[in-house]
C-alpha cells in the first residue's frame, strides 16, 4: 500500500534522480555530488523528531514517487521562539495518474506541530496546492524586482538565456549602450546615476562570511519575525552560498557611512555581462534606499547588464522611483494555525526569504559535477 514516511539514506538515489528529472529537467541520472548534497542538507543535520524531517511518498511497490524537503528554522516572534519549517523542495512523480502522492506529502508536513510552514520557491502548481491547504500567499514577498543597467546588453542577455548563440552579439550590445549613454548623458534609466550626498556618500567593501554572519542579526532586530541562527550556523550557510557557479562571481559586501558604521549588507552574484541575482539585501530601518542605491552602483561597476532579486515589503517601498520593474516570481507562501503570527506575516513584519529560505543552498544556482 502506498504511504508517506520520513526520508532515509536508502532513498537518496531515488530522491536525487527524481529531483534531477523533474526539477533540473534532465534525463542524466543524478551523480554522486548531488546525492551527497541531498544527504548533507536533508539528513546529516535533520532534527530527531519525525514531524520535522523530510518525507518521501512510496508507491504500492515501495518505489519513491515524491519528496518534500524540510529545513527547520528557529525564529523569534515578538518575545517567543517559534519553529518554522521551510518546505521548498517539493517534487511528485506520476502527478496525472496518482494525484494522491503530492497531496499526501504536503498535507502530512503541513499538519505537523510546527508553528509555521513556508516556502519561498513555489511554482504555479505548488502554489495552488498550498492554497488548497488554506495557506496564505504573501504577495509582497512574491514579486521579483529587476533593475536594468545596460538596456541593449540586457535585451541580448535575456534573449541569450533561451538561445545561447546570441551571446555572440554581446559586443554589439556594449557598443550600443555606450553610444546611448553618450547621446543621452547621465540618466537613471541608463545604469547607475550618481547621487552625491546620498548613496555616494557611503562606501561599500567586501566582507568575510564571519563578518557578515556577525553583523546580520543586528540588522534584523527591526523585524517582528526573524531567524535565530545558532552559533556558526549562518557562517556555514554562507559557505554553501559561495558555490553558485551558474550565477557568476559572488559579491558579499557591507555598506558603511563616513564614520565607518555598517548600515547595510547585501549578497549578489554576477560577472560582467550577466544579469545579476541578489540573494539578500538588508539595511538599518529607514536606510533601505541608500543601501539599494549602493547595490546598484556596485552592480553597475562590475559590468552587470541588470540586477534582480526577490521582494520584501520594505525593499519594495524603497525601490519606488529607482526605475525598478516588478514581475511575478516564485511565490512565498505561509501556513500556520496561529492567527497572531499570520497577521504579522501578512502585514510584512517578517524576514522570511533569501537566507531564511533555500537561497543559500547549492540547489539554487550551482552545478553538480
Amino acid at each position: 500500500m502506498s504511504k508517506v514516511r520520513t526520508f532515509e539514506a536508502a532513498d537518496l538515489d531515488d530522491v536525487a534522480n527524481l529531483f534531477q528529472r523533474l526539477l533540473r529537467k534532465t534525463s542524466t541520472p543524478a551523480n554522486d555530488d548531488l546525492k551527497s548534497y541531498f544527504r548533507q542538507i536533508f539528513l546529516d543535520n535533520a532534527r530527531p523528531e519525525p514531524a520535522f524531517r523530510s518525507r518521501v511518498h512510496l508507491r504500492d511497490d515501495g518505489s519513491v514517487s515524491g519528496f518534500i524537503g524540510v529545513l527547520p528554522v528557529s525564529m523569534q516572534f515578538k518575545d517567543r521562539q517559534i519553529l518554522a519549517l521551510d518546505c521548498g523542495s517539493f517534487v511528485s512523480d506520476d502527478r496525472d495518474v496518482d494525484p494522491f502522492a503530492g497531496a499526501r506529502l504536503l498535507r502530512d508536513v503541513l499538519s505537523g506541530p510546527q508553528d509555521l510552514s513556508f516556502t519561498e520557491t513555489a511554482n504555479d502548481i505548488s502554489t495552488e496546492m498550498w492554497k488548497s491547504m488554506r495557506a496564505t500567499v504573501l504577495g509582497s514577498y512574491s514579486l521579483g524586482w529587476l533593475r536594468i543597467l545596460r538596456p541593449a546588453s540586457f535585451a541580448i542577455e535575456a534573449a541569450a538565456n533561451h538561445m545561447r548563440a546570441l551571446k555572440l552579439m554581446r559586443p554589439l550590445g556594449y557598443a550600443f549602450d555606450g553610444v546611448l549613454s553618450r547621446a543621452v548623458g547621465p540618466s537613471s534609466w541608463l545604469g547607475y546615476e550618481q547621487t552625491p550626498g546620498k548613496a555616494d556618500a557611503f562606501l561599500t567593501e567586501p566582507i568575510s562570511d564571519a563578518e557578515f554572519a556577525a553583523l546580520l542579526p543586528r540588522l534584523l532586530t527591526q523585524f517582528e519575525i526573524r531567524p535565530v541562527w545558532s552559533n556558526g550556523q549562518l557562517e556555514v550557510m554562507l559557505q554553501h552560498a559561495a558555490r553558485k557557479r551558474n550565477y557568476g562571481e559572488r559579491h558579499q559586501r557591507a555598506v558603511k557611512n563616513r564614520s565607518g558604521k555598517i548600515i547595510g549588507l547585501y549578497l549578489f552574484y554576477g560577472s560582467k555581462g550577466d544579469i545579476g541575482r541578489t540573494v539578500q539585501v538588508v539595511s538599518e530601518p529607514g536606510l533601505e534606499s541608500i543601501v539599494i542605491d549602493c547595490l546598484l552602483r556596485d552592480a553597475s561597476a562590475c559590468g552587470l547588464v541588470a540586477v534582480r532579486g526577490a521582494s520584501q515589503p520594505n525593499i519594495i517601498q524603497a525601490m519606488i522611483g529607482k526605475k525598478c520593474a516588478f514581475v511575478p516570481a516564485a511565490a512565498t507562501i505561509v501556513h500556520t494555525h496561529d492567527r497572531e503570527l499570520l497577521e504579522a506575516l501578512k502585514s510584512g513584519q517578517a524576514f522570511i526569504n533569501g537566507l531564511v529560505g533555500e537561497g543559500w543552498t547549492r540547489f539554487i544556482g550551482d552545478r553538480f559535477e
Binding site: 502527478r95 495518474v97 494522491f100 503530492g102 499526501r104 498535507r107 502530512d108 488548497s132
Partner: protein, 84 residues
C-alpha cells in the same frame, strides 16, 4: 448515507472540478481520477472541504483512491467517519 449528503457532495464536485458543467458525466461510480476531474490540488481541496463541511478528521492514510475516487466512495467514506 442521506440524499442530502450525496447532493452536497455532488454540488461541490460539479462546482469545483467540473466548473459548473452539469453536462459532464458524473454517476455515483464515475472515477474522478481516470476522468481527469481531480489533480493533486483537487484532492487537497476535497479533503479540506470534507473536514470543514462534515466535521470529520481525514488522516494521511485515508487519502487513497479507495476512499476518494468517486462520489459513492466519498459518501461512504464520510458515512464511516461520522459513524466511527
Amino acid at each position: 448515507m442521506s440524499d442530502d449528503t450525496k447532493a452536497i457532495l455532488r454540488a461541490f464536485i460539479v462546482e469545483n472540478f467540473l466548473f459548473g458543467d452539469e453536462s459532464q458525466p458524473l454517476t455515483a461510480d464515475t472515477s474522478l481520477i481516470d476522468n481527469d476531474y481531480v489533480d493533486s490540488t483537487g484532492i487537497l481541496e476535497l479533503v479540506s472541504y470534507l473536514e470543514e463541511t462534515f466535521g470529520i478528521k481525514v488522516a494521511d492514510t485515508d487519502i487513497i483512491p479507495a476512499n476518494l475516487d468517486s462520489l459513492a466512495r466519498i459518501a461512504a467514506f464520510v458515512d464511516r467517519k461520522q459513524a466511527g
